[in-house]
Structure formats: C-alpha cells, structure tokens
Symmetry: C2
Subunit: 112 residues, 2 copies
Amino acid sequence: MELELAASRLAELGHSTRLAIFRILVKAGRQGLSVGDIQQQLDIPGSTLSHHLARMIKVDLLQQRREGRTLYCQLQFAVVEALLGYLYAECCVADGQPWLTMSNLAGAKSAC
Amino acid sequence: MELELAASRLAELGHSTRLAIFRILVKAGRQGLSVGDIQQQLDIPGSTLSHHLARMIKVDLLQQRREGRTLYCQLQFAVVEALLGYLYAECCVADGQPWLTMSNLAGAKSAC
DNA sequence: CGATTATTTCTATAAATGTGGAAGTATTTT
DNA sequence: AAAATACTTCCACATTTATAGAAATAATCG
C-alpha cells in the first residue's frame, strides 16, 4: 500500500465516531452488522452515520451487502490487515535495528 | 489509550505530509532530525511544515529539542507503540477468535 | 397499491483544516 | 550590534469535514 492510500485510510480511522464503528465491526466479525444495529449502539442520527459509513466505504475499509431491506456492514479485514501491515513495516527499523518488535506489540495486545 | 485519544493520533497520521514526516522520523531514530532536514526531504514551505509538526506535537506523536538554533524533531516512540498496540488490541478477536495474528503481520512486515 | 421499515441522498450550515507569504523570535556568527 | 540562520507565529483564504433535518429510495408487508 502506498503512502497516500494508507494516509487516507488512517484519516478515516482518525475520527472518534468512525473508530467506534470500526471497533463494533471488528467485534461483529465477517458476517457484519446492520446499519440500524450500529446506529443503536452509537445513538447518532441516521444521516450522520450514513455519512461516516460512506467515507469508510470510499477507502475500502468496509463493504455493505443488502439482505432484504437491511444493509449489513462488514469490515474489509484484508484491507485493515494491509493498513496495519504498512504501518508496522514503516516502524520496522529505527537506529539501525527493529524497534517495534512482535513482543512489544504482544504486550500491548495482551490487554485485550 | 482511550478511543478519543487514539482517534486524534490516527487523524494526525492520516495526512500524506504528516505520514511522510512520520516515516522520515522513524528512519531518523531516537536522536531525531532537524526541521530543516525534514523540510529539505519534503520540499514544502517552512510555515506549512511547522503547522504539521505542531499538530503532531499536540497529540504527542513527536517532541522537539533545541540545539543551538536548530530544532530537532524526535518521534515519541512509546506513544506510537501504544497507538499501534491499541489498534492491535481492537483487532484481537473477530468471529470469536483472533483474526489478526502475529504471523499475518509478519507477512506484511516482511516487505520491509 | 398503500403503509411500514431501513437506509441513503440532499441540503444547509458551522467548524476545522491545509496552504503559504510575511512578519516575528531565538540563537549564533562576525 | 548588525547580519545571518533556523524556525515559528500570524494572517488570510480556499477547501474539506461534521452534523442533522427533510426528502428520496429500496424492499417488504398487509
């Protein structure tokens, strides 16, 4: 992933409402969650939510699929993985040696 | 790190100029790099660069230290680590099992 | 078909952001 | 002390973004 694309995706994650959506959708897993359910969890107007979802879709962070009159949002897990991979790659080497190691992350990750 | 703080930091990384600064400063390591050197690498007006640096400083992504008339910028590596750790933690579990594994990341990381 | 549900698109508006020239500040040099 | 260097702050302006009500679209139900 090139810098411009990574930046545009990070920018979308860089908003509290959208980061909250991201969290909800990670938890929801591959099958996703309906817009209405997301709205209920966030308690924001539909048009506002729709705006944020559209932005995330635009940069491929998520997808929607329709089932009847319900729209389900699913995270594009591969894209998220690529984005984190990009960041991680950027953080590979500082002072001539890896500074962000797997175990550093594992430490942070252990909190979950 | 709470959601609001993480979002504000992601937002700062979510701009191509600032993400470029981030890359440069990772490479520069702990001792950092002067504003002038960053400016030379990016080829942008000083006032614009200063604006972006100020934003990154505001969310603790970087620090400045003065040496004579030169200001050195250093990444706050611990903060970056915490931010990535937060993201990883959020990505821990999907569909009742870990989906972003260390080896997934290692794959992405191997590109560097 | 008309009503209901689910969600988006339209529209307006306020606030934040990005950009860069010009002027100002800090520090060193001569 | 004046000049030079290294930046920042101030300012103005254009663009983007966030928010949310109202109207429109899509799909199902009675």
